[in-house]
Structures are given as C-alpha cells and as structure tokens.
C-alpha cells in the first residue's frame, strides 16, 4: 500500500516563497549581467575619453610653452661681451608675477644667463639631456611641466638652451573642469541604460510570469488548460504542457473505466451467485466479503490517482443537490427535512467530483438512516496554517453514538477482513478513508441537533 496519508499539497510552492528576485532567477541574472556590462563599458569610456582629453589639453599647454620658447630663442642674442642676453621677455603676466610656476630661463653651457621675473631669485634645476615633457619640482614646491629646446647662435660656439615650465596644477585644473561634466554625463547615460535594461527584462519576462500564473491556476484547479501565450517562443511549451495534461486525464479516465468494468464483471456474477444460494448459506458471508474487497480496491484505485490529477475543482453546492436528488424519496418518506448552508455558494473542493460525491453521499445517507426529522448540511471555508481548506459538516437529530462507537465506526472497514453484512456502517469508514487520501480528516462528535455530527476537512 503506498502511503495514502501523504499530503497532496506538500510539494506546492507557497505563494509567499515566490519573491521577485531570488539568487537563481533569470531576471536577476539578466539584470546583473547587463549592469556589469554597462558599468564596464562606461568606466572604459570614461578612461579613454579622459586620456584623450588629457593629451589634448597638455598639448595645448605645450604649444603655448613652445611659442614662448620660440619667442625667447628669436629674441636671444650674444652681447658684445660674448654673453647670452635675452630679448624682450614674454608679455604674459604669469611670467612676471612671483612664483606662479610659469617660468623660463636661458642657459649658456649650463649657466643660467637670463630668467623670468616669476622665478624671483631661484633657478630651475633642469636634468641634463632632452627632458621635454618631464616633471620637475619648482622653487615653491609645485610640480612643473618642462619644455626645453637647445639652440646655437651664429656668433657663439656655446650651447644655448631655453627652458619653459608650466605648473602641472594648471593642466590638472583644466582637466578637472572637463572631467566633471564628462563623469556626470556618463553616469546619466549609465542610469538611462540600466533603466532600459530593467524595462527590457521585465517586458521580456512578463510572458514567462503569465505562463507561471496560468500554471498555478491549473494547479489550484481553477482552469483545465493553459491558454496559448501571445509570445511565439513560449507557445510550444504551452502546447506541450496541455498535451501532458490531456494525457494525464485520459490515462486516469481509462484506468478508472478499466476498474469500473472489472467491478461490473465481478459483481454481476456475484449477485447471481448470492441469489442462487439460500440466505443462510455460509457462502453468503464469503460473497459479502468479496463484494467489500472489490469496493475497497475500486475506491483505492480511483482515489489514489485523483490527487495527482491537475486542474480539479468541484463545487460543493451542485454535488449536495445531486446527492439529495438520489435520496429525495427515502427522505420524503421518512418526513426528514434537510437544511443546507453552503457559504459562499461557489465554495469548491480542490479534488475529484467522484470523491466528493462519495464523501457527501455516504455521510448524508448515514444521517438519513438515523435522523428523526432533521438533517443539516453545512460547508464553509477555513484557513488552517495558511492553507485554504473547507469544512463540511453533516448532522442529524437521531440517537447519535457514544464516543466509543465513534472510534469503532472509523475503524471499521479500514481493513479487508471485515465480517458481517455488506453495507452495514461501512459508509463512515469509507469517508474516513477518502478524507485521508486527500490529506483531510473525518471527526465524529455529538451534534447540537442531538444526533451524530460528522465533520470533514478537505483541501479547498
């Protein structure tokens, strides 16, 4: 016997477990990937653009220094005493204000012959060789970019050199001026791209979300087939799932039909056999036992497959109406009135109609057998530990049972070795069996009407 008390909903994901972003979600992976790529592209862009800008700005400053040094070379001449003298110094104020970092000096064979006023009484110590583009420390401690040109004059054999410096701080200042708007605009571009990818991923996954929702509706028994998604990529999946659902249903229907046919082919000869024997023949007990075994296996074969069938939803109201249609005559004969309270009216059981018919049918038939004048059938939804359940209560005003008999009634028929006439008091055991198959429970108690109160909890 495979485990009948297994909770058919144990492997249901609880709705609140489905957070939008889990570590293993496609959405998170796509967003992380696009964030990574966008970030890397923007950083690389920033570095590249600022390198180009730095080169450009430095070039502009170098050009300025070069024109100053060319003017100095053009103005330089050898004085009558053979010493190098500068021509007209550059007009730029920055070369005359003290310690601005904008300096020039003229050298002849390593000796400083003339220098800018901004140098005050300092001398630039220039490393030997062609050190254009090098950075040196200035007299006021500033970092200076250096431009140095060597030249000779026609009237002298000495090696002349002109050195012009620009404070690095001025270059950095100009760079900072363009880097800030660059960074801001790249950041805004990044935000824009990130938003775009969120929108893209959300839009792309919406049809997947809808597919999930539709599947959950089937699982909850609210629909039988998956609607075809509007997206071409998902349509084959939906078609396959619908195919599986159909197959599942038809396999189950076939299995039930086979079991039904088996029951029929066994029970008809059994009826003939029973009627061919005298009523007190010992064979009658065997026939009754065979009959019960067939019934038990029939029920078991049908119901153990049912919880696995997807898309099951059975409204309580119509089933109660059908059962009362069958029992109407015996109820009328006995003068028993039945009150039904089913709230809400569309309350539904998440399971097979046949099982619900067996449960309500057997309980109502049992109540009808014992009731004096009243039966009450009520059904209402209950929330038990976050799982939607429904409770069906069937009560009568008959003699009821003692607590000992309650336990006894539930125990009967649970095994196969029952003796005694067929159909006597087995109804309650059948219901208890079915309730267990659906993860529910049958509880017997005394009703305030006076008789038996049978309460059963089922998945809603």
């Amino acid at each position: 016997m495979n485990d009948p008390t297994r909770d058919p909903h144990a492997h249901d994901p609880k709705p609140d477990d489905r957070r939008r972003f889990r570590g293993d979600s496609i959405r998170l992976r796509l967003l992380a990937l696009s964030a990574l790529l966008i970030g890397a592209a923007l950083v690389a862009g920033y570095l590249l653009i600022s390198a180009i800008l730095q080169e450009f700005i430095t070039g502009r400053f170098d050009a300025e220094a070069a024109s100053v040094s060319e003017a100095l070379i053009a103005g330089a001449q050898v004085a009558d005493d053979g010493r190098l003298v500068a021509g007209t110094p550059p007009a730029d104020q920055r070369f005359s204000m003290p310690l601005t970092g904008w300096y020039w000096q003229l050298e002849e064979d390593g000796r400083v012959m003339a220098k800018s006023a901004s140098l005050f009484d300092n001398v630039l110590s220039v490393p030997a060789g062609d050190s254009s583009g090098a950075t040196i420390a200035g007299p006021a401690g500033q970092a200076l970019r250096l431009t140095r040109s060597s030249f000779t004059l026609p009237d002298s054999d000495s090696r002349m050199a002109v050195t012009v410096t620009i404070p690095r701080a001025d270059i950095e200042g100009s760079l900072a001026l363009v880097r800030k708007p660059l960074a801001i605009s790249l950041l805004m571009l990044g935000i824009g791209l990130a938003l775009a990818s969120v929108i893209q991923v959300t839009a792309g996954l919406r049809s997947l979300d809808r597919l999930g929702r539709d599947l959950r509706r089937i699982r909850a028994g609210k629909s039988e087939t998956l609607p075809l998604p509007p997206v071409a990529e998902l349509r084959p999946i939906a078609v396959e799932i619908n195919g599986l659902l159909d197959q599942n249903r038809s396999v189950l229907a076939r299995a039930r039909e086979h079991v039904g046919n088996l029951a029929h082919s066994l029970k008809t000869p059994l009826a003939a056999l029973s009627n061919g024997l005298p009523a007190d023949h010992p064979g009658q007990a065997l026939i009754a036992r065979m009959d019960r075994q067939i019934g038990w296996h029939l029920r078991r074969a049908r119901s153990s497959a049912a919880p696995r069938l997807l898309g099951q939803r059975t409204e309580i109201g119509p089933v109660v109406d059908d059962i009362l249609l069958v029992l109407r005559r015996p109820l009328d004969d006995a003068g028993i009135t039945v009150r039904t309270d089913i709230l809400p009216p569309d309350l539904a059981f998440a399971g097979d109609r046949q099982d619900l018919e067996e449960i309500i049918g057997n309980l109502t038939e049992n109540a009808a057998k014992w009731a004096r004048s009243r039966i009450r059938i009520s059904a209402s939804p209950v929330q038990a530990a976050g799982v939607a359940e429904l409770r069906v209560v069937i009560e009568d005003d008959g003699p009821g049972m003692s607590d000992k008999d309650h336990a006894l009634a539930l125990a009967r028929g649970s095994g196969l070795d029952e003796t005694g006439p067929a159909g006597s008091g087995l109804g309650l055991a059948i219901v208890a069996d079915l309730a267990a198959l659906h993860g529910g429970k049958l509880v017997l108690d005394r009703s305030d009407l006076g008789g038996l109160r049978a309460e059963i909890a089922l998945p809603a």
């Binding site: 039904g260 046919n261 029951a263 029929h264 066994l266 029970k267 008809t268 000869p269 059994l270 009826a271 003939a272 056999l273 029973s274 009627n275 061919g276 009523a279 026939i287 009959d291 019934g295 029939l298 029920r299 059908d322 059962i323 249609l325 069958v326 005559r329 004969d333 109609r353 046949q354 018919e357 067996e358 309500i360 049918g361 057997n362 067929a422 159909g423």
Partner: protein, 220 residues
C-alpha cells in the same frame, strides 16, 4: 403489472424474472441495451429494472432515450460499481430508485412494487379503494378487512384496477399490463375474470363502459 428486465447476465436475468413473476408481475426481458431500449419504448410497462453496465448501448443511454421519448414508467437501476457517481448519473437520467450489486432479489422486488404503487399516485404501501385494501408489498387484497381468495390472474387485474381506481381502463391497456410479450392476448378471458371478480367483491364496484373499458368506482 408488467415489468421489463434489462440485464445482460443470463443467470441473474432469469433469477430476476422468476422473482418478479412470483410476486405477480408479467415479465419481459432484454439482454442488451438496444433491445431493452426498443422494448421499453414500444410496449407499455409498469416498471423497468435496468442494469447500467450493458453491452452495446449503456444503461444510462437507454434511460435517457426513454425519458426523451416521453416514457414515464418508473425505472429501477442496477449498478455494479455502487458509487454515488453512478447513482447520481442514473437519477439525473431519470431513474427512480437503485439497487447495488450484489443485491437480494426480494429487495429488488419490493423496490419495484413500491415504484409501481407510487407511479399510480399512492404514497403508502397500503392502498384503499372503497371497501377494498391492497397491501402492495405483501400482495394481499382484503374486502372489508377479510382476505380475498383470488387466482393469480384475478389478483393481477384487481391490483391494476385498484392502482388506477376511478379512471377508465381500456381492455387493451389492461391486457398490456397483464400479459408478457410471449403470451397470447385474450380479451374474452379478461371479461370472464372481471365477471368472477364482481361475484367475489360485489356487483357495484367494477363498472363496464361500453366500447371504453372498466372503471373501479370507489367514489361518486
């Protein structure tokens, strides 16, 4: 009373026919759905016992066709599965009662008798007709409290007339419900039996309407 038994198992079918005949029914039987549907819709029966698991046309379909054709005879269904789905399907198709296999024959007979009595509009097992009383379950008819000694054929006619008291019952209708399909119909013998009945229960109760039939008159 005439009854139709539609059951494919020959042994069970003959057991049912025997049991029904023993309690005063004239019985026809059919062994499959098509035959049963045809017999039920072409001849007039007081009750039908219909197995749901028939070869050919299923019992539910037979019943549905009968009801669609406006045939209102009471129908007792026999179900092997015995689950509520079968019962509900049967009642929805128009069944009046059910018996679950394996059943006791006397249970089926009592249920069939009850259906016949109800179909004639009598809620109680005992039907009164003036000085006559019919206990439909025991099949006993009393006159002013004294049990009547009747032959089987006399009892059949009187039972039918008691069920349909104060209404004209034609000879054809009467013969339809007295004989099974195999028997020769004989209006003459009906007239003879009616005459014998009049002597046993008193002249005034059964009136003859020329060209129409008979009335068991129990009220003015």
């Amino acid at each position: 009373m005439r009854c139709l038994i539609v059951e494919d198992d020959p042994l069970l079918s003959s057991q049912l026919v025997e049991a029904m005949q023993a309690s005063g029914f004239a019985c026809d039987s059919a062994a499959d759905g098509e035959q049963g549907e045809f017999q039920g819709s072409t001849r007039s029966y007081d009750v039908a016992v219909l197995d749901l698991g028939l070869p050919g046309l299923p019992g539910i379909e037979v019943l549905t066709r009968w009801r669609q054709a406006g045939i209102t005879m009471p129908v007792l269904i026999l179900t092997a599965r015995g689950d509520w789905t079968d019962k509900v399907a049967g009642f929805r198709a128009g069944a009046d009662d059910y018996a679950v296999k394996p059943f006791r024959l006397d249970e089926v007979v009592i249920r069939a008798q009850t259906l016949v009595r109800r179909a004639a509009g009598h809620a109680q097992a005992v039907i009164e007709a003036g000085p006559l009383r019919l206990d439909s379950q025991l099949g006993i008819i009393t006159l002013n409290g004294m049990a009547l000694k009747l032959t089987a054929f006399e009892a059949r006619i009187l039972t039918y007339l008691i069920h349909h008291q104060n209404r004209v019952v034609s000879r054809t209708e009467l013969s339809d419900h007295l004989y099974d399909a195999a028997a020769d119909r004989d209006f003459k013998s009906i007239e003879v039996v009616i005459g014998r009945l009049r002597r046993k229960i008193g002249e005034g109760l059964i009136e003859t309407r020329r060209g129409e039939g008979y009335v068991l008159r129990t009220r003015a």
